[in-house]
């Protein structure tokens, strides 16, 4: 967890505000807004109803469970998308032209198609079961979301491989390494380090995109929040409830963003 305690970061490449002190200030600020909204809602609430904080606490476990499901989906999707994306990315740098062009087309397709449309596609087009294996909806959602992830990872891999200086390829060739040996023994091990920050960034984006599954009928954090609001049928808790969900995502994604930036800086200094 050392990366979270990075000392002073100057202007280069990163926001000055990603210092430990600033992050505590950030969270403190957000917590203040949240509490203020709860307090204001409470003040505006008729005396006979349950207090706003108590309602929030009552529903928090359920909403948090939904949020954990979002995280579960994000992990599964990232794993699948990464594996597919690595092979697609390597195909993009293949010396075999038809493969390279096909891989480029596939990558561009999945990078430019909206995530929600691809998700719908997977949910509606994939069958309910393949042979004897049943495909539950969350699995279809994972497959659907892993497609744009695959496209983005392919680009990251391509960028990483291309960023290795040609001198490495040349000297490997002079030592009679085959292309496959050069890729797997020399280029990829060095490129992986550079690919980690954008990979982490992609994970953060994906985590936030998992909320899309609520639109196609899968129960996640957002579904739970909406359900809770419908159950309570009060307008004064609308803002605090949504803020609570936003905070859950923020507390998870903001440290990832900071770690990404700090790693980016660290890897940029060396060649």
């Amino acid at each position: 967890m050392k990366v979270l305690l990075t000392p002073r970061i100057e202007g280069f490449g990163g926001s000055r505000w990603l210092k430990p002190l600033a992050s505590t200030r950030m969270l403190a600020g957000l917590a203040l807004v949240f509490l203020a909204s709860a307090a204001w809602a409470q003040a505006a609430a008729p005396a006979a109803q349950a207090s706003v904080p108590s309602v929030l606490i009552k529903w928090a476990p359920l909403i948090f469970q939904g949020f954990l499901f979002n995280l579960l989906v994000s992990v599964g999707t990232m794993a699948l998308g990464t594996v597919l994306g690595v092979f697609l990315g390597l195909a993009q740098v293949s010396p075999y032209a038809p493969l390279r062009r096909a891989a480029w087309a596939v990558t561009q397709f999945f990078r430019n198609a909206p995530w929600l449309v691809l998700l719908f596609y997977a949910m509606l087009i994939l069958p309910f079961q393949i042979g004897p294996i049943a495909l539950p909806s969350w699995l279809k959602a994972i497959i659907g979301l892993s497609l744009p992830v695959m496209g983005n990872i392919a680009e990251i891999v391509r960028g990483g491989v291309l960023s290795i200086p040609s001198g490495q390829w040349e000297s490997a060739e002079a030592l009679a390494f085959t292309r496959r040996q050069t890729m797997w023994l020399i280029v990829l091990p060095q490129a992986v380090k550079r690919m980690i920050p954008p990979w982490m960034n992609q994970y953060a984006i994906l985590t936030m995109a998992t909320t899309l599954i609520s639109i196609v009928g899968i129960q996640d954090g957002l579904t739970m929040t909406r359900a809770a609001l419908v159950a309570e049928a009060r307008t004064d808790i609308l803002v605090p409830m949504y803020l609570m969900l936003l905070m859950m995502f923020f507390i998870y994604c903001y440290p990832i963003a900071r770690a990404t930036l700090s790693l980016e800086r660290r890897f940029a200094v060396k060649i």
Binding site: G13, W17, P114, Y121, T211, L212, L222, V239, L246, F250
Partner: protein, 247 residues
Amino acid sequence: MDVAQFFSWLNDAHGINFSIFYDPFDRDRFLAGLWTTVMLSVVCIIASVVIGVVGAWAQGAPSRIVRAIAQGYVQVFRNTPPLVQLAFFYFAFSSLLPTVADGFGGREPLISSFGWAVISFSLFAGAFNVEIFRSGIEAVPQSTIEAAEALGYTRLGAYVHVILPLAIRVCLPALNNNLVNLVKTTTLAYAIGVPELLYAAAQIWSEVLNVREMMNVLLVTYIALVALLVAAMNKWERSMRVPGFGR
């Protein structure tokens, strides 16, 4: 055989149903949805760029409070899901606003679902743009800024006439990327009932039961939209190219 005849033949003979090509009602619905998506994209692009410019300016402001607000805005909107942001604005925030008379004796919300979509997406994309413009601004050499100040430019004047033109050229690729994402993000408006392209397509396929065909049409249309945007941005980038700068 014209287009409409071809597609109705296709449906009758092979069961491949692209109803939007031969059925005028479906076609009109689809085109209306496409228009809404285009409108939504254009308005959000403009608004988010303005927010980005203003926000990047605010991040360099001398006042600590202004800087704090700008930074808080950026970090919150970048690290929370856009769909939850949209839901927050449409369901939660709108409940705090007054309603207006709708002319029929009832009351309607002050801002429509389209309006909230514009607000939410512009703020979301704007947050990313602030970071993009900020990195572009940081790429402008300090000596250039000093020279501008020595010539008597105010801070605002230097920003508008010297820093911004140079910064934009540096950050065009990243900006391009972000605007493409914005067009893709407009599909989220489906969730609050904005009659954009995905919504129109969903209506059609739920009635006509041609999910597969409509899905393919959707994918092709969105990719075409994005390709158009990218081509326009590339053209703009080329016309603005300064020899020897940046690369």
